[in-house]
Amino acid sequence: MRILYIEDDAKTAERVARGFAEVGHVCDVVADGEDGLFQAMRESYDVLVIDRMLPGLDGLSLVRSLRAAGRKIPALFLTSVGGIDDRVEGLEAGGDDYLVKPFAFSELQARVNALARRPPPVSVQTILQVADLKMDLVRRRVRRGETDIELQPREFTLLEVLMRNEGRIVTRTMLLERVWEFHFDPRTSVVETHVSRLRAKVDKPFATPLIHTVRNVGYSLHAPR
């Protein structure tokens, strides 16, 4: 995967680029907003990671310019200020995801993976399948093998998010945002509780578990390897 990382803090940029390189991605780093825009227009990347506050051209304007030029490349904003209004502004400017600094690299990696392989929005999937687990998005039904599984509406959404990201890590924060629309960090085990309820229905009665815990990061749903 080719990633363009526009970041003016050399130390962060170096660490992130090395992290991506270790997992087999190519990560180009640009330290200036204008150079970043130029680079993003000239070369083809799978994902853009953009710091909001940049010299030359700020991150918001950069993404606006890209979108105005018709580039649909997925963009993730890194924001450092509180993130209350920043998030909304970022998404309005054409960003696809945001992450508040300081972040864990595993979190950034999970989000970049999710963005890069996001299915094109034109093809509407109505059936999701992982191993013998099937989800019918139209009838809102879940089956594993020959067994129907009854899920609460929110459990259904939780499973849907995990299934859409099959084989990739979904972090706790990503789940909080996508399933419950929580943009704050709860002090209780909301995610753990609901994942364990979901597991009790989807994994417990069956021989092979599909939902896997990635320690200190999040969860991943995939067929047994």
């Binding site: 509180g82 993130g83 929110r154 704050f184 002090r187 209780t188 909301v190 509780t193």
Partner: protein, 458 residues
């Protein structure tokens, strides 16, 4: 503030403009009065001349010229020094009597100059001429008296105008100086504020005039400004305090790791500890920033209609299982019937309610029942978060209250302190009152929302 001369001040300019208007009005009045008096005097003069003429003509009686001449002579004598003129001439223009002679005027009224009758050349005379049985009788009066009356009148008016002008300008200047003193008080205050003395206020006279009202508005704005700045100062102090301690711990942890490495020991555990510490620092920082942003009120721009019942229902759904895992029961007691939507920030209200529910779950032991109630009081919607847990001991409650109502300076556990501060900040933003009740046993947190006038009116 710039101290320009009084002459350039707005009140003084207004006063001068007003004085000019008064003087012009006064001068115009003077001219009108002058004309009116002139006209009246002339009428009176004509009447006198006419009467005198009649008396002389009457003296003629039955063709008695001598009687008439005597009457003329009497009049001449009686009016000596009053500059009146008489002349009687015969039909063949022979002088018969009077005190002037040899001048020519048409019948009826006419105005002549003194030189025509051998008197002071520029003096104007008003004369009346008429025929009495073939004899021509002329009676006249000099205008001198009228002219001098009018002169006196004009000069009085001129002096009065000067006096009015002087009074108007000096009075205006005095008033302007007074107004200017008050403006200067405003200027001095703003100057002090711009120099950093935010507690400066404009002195109020309390007479309720417009400058007073303006001063009150400015003072209100200053009070808000001072409050905001004080809040920011407080936040900086809080950040310093809340972050210094964990930063210190982080430093110690790293030092320990370095130490262990020097002795060839594993450092994994210390690093995990350091990461946790860094996360905690970030969490505190985020919470403080969020609270200060909420307190600054900038979030009001994101206000929209929100349904409190729907938010609470959603949160109960999220937290019921969490409470269940903790061995507690969470119920939603929705007693509110129909109610208008509230104008608010859905995300912040969600976080506030979530905070309150989480506080109860975290601080209550297994077996506790947590009840969330939504009531529709006449005063507005009321959300209650009640538990039958241990509650808060009397002494502790005082502390929680203080922490709730003021960002306390000495915070030991950033978790709960900031949580409640955030609840308070969000409630404040929504103009909602918050109170803590002793449920005997347990704790009850009550949040009273005010009905939104905009939504009600719609």
């Amino acid at each position: 503030m710039h101290r320009d001369s009084l002459v350039r001040s707005t009140p003084f300019r207004l006063a001068v403009a007003f004085a000019v208007m008064v003087v012009v009005a006064f001068a115009l009045t003077g001219i009108a009065v002058h004309k009116l008096v002139e006209w009246e005097l002339r009428r009176y003069q004509d009447k006198t001349i006419r009467e005198t003429y009649s008396v002389i003509a009457d003296a003629y009686g039955d063709s008695d010229l001598q009687d008439m001449l005597e009457a003329v002579e009497m009049n001449v004598r009686a009016t000596r020094g009053m500059d009146r003129i008489f002349e009687v001439t015969s039909a063949d223009r022979r002088f018969l009597g009077g005190n002037v002679r040899d001048f020519d005027v048409p019948d009826g009224w006419s105005d002549i100059k003194g030189r025509a009758i051998g008197r002071e050349p520029d003096l104007a005379y008003r004369v009346y001429a008429g025929m009495v049985d073939g004899n021509r009788v002329v009676v006249g009066t000099s205008q001198q008296e009228n002219d001098s009356i009018q002169e006196i009148l004009a000069s009085s008016f001129a002096w009065a105008t000067v006096l009015v002008a002087v009074l108007a300008v000096s009075g205006g200047a005095a008033l302007a100086a007074r107004v200017r003193r008050r403006f200067n008080a405003v200027g001095d205050t703003m100057h002090a504020v711009s120099r950093g003395r935010l507690s400066a206020r404009i002195p109020s006279l309390g007479n309720g005039d417009d400058i007073d009202a303006l001063a009150r508005d400015i003072n209100d704005a200053l009070a808000r400004l001072e409050h905001t700045v004080e809040g920011m100062r407080q936040v900086s102090a809080d950040i310093a305090h809340d972050l210094k301690t964990p930063l210190n711990r982080l430093r110690l942890t790293i030092e320990e790791a370095l130490d262990r490495e020097a002795h060839g020991l594993s450092v994994g555990e210390a690093l995990v500890e350091a990461a946790v510490e860094a996360d905690r620092i970030n969490e505190t920082f985020e919470a403080l920033l969020r609270i200060s942003q909420i307190e600054a009120g900038s979030r009001k721009t994101r206000f929209g209609p929100v349904d409190l019942g729907a938010i609470l229902e959603f949160l109960i759904e999220v937290y019921r299982d969490v409470a269940d895992d903790a061995g507690q029961s969470l119920f939603f007691d929705r007693r509110a019937g129909a109610y208008p939507p509230l104008s608010g920030d859905r995300e912040l209200l969600t976080q506030m309610f979530a905070n309150l529910i989480e506080n109860a779950i975290r601080h209550c032991p297994a077996g506790t029942t947590l009840t969330v109630k939504l009531q529709n009081d006449p005063q507005g919607l009321v959300a209650r978060f009640e538990d039958d847990g241990p509650g808060i001991p009397e002494a502790e409650r005082e502390k929680v209250f203080r922490r709730l109502y003021r960002l306390e300076k000495s915070r030991t556990s950033p978790g709960s302190g900031l949580g409640l501060s955030l609840v308070k900040a969000v409630a404040d933003l929504h103009d909602a009152a918050i109170e803590l009740n002793d449920m005997k046993p347990g704790l009850g947190v009550v949040i009273r929302f005010r009905p939104d006038p905009r939504v009600c009116a719609a």
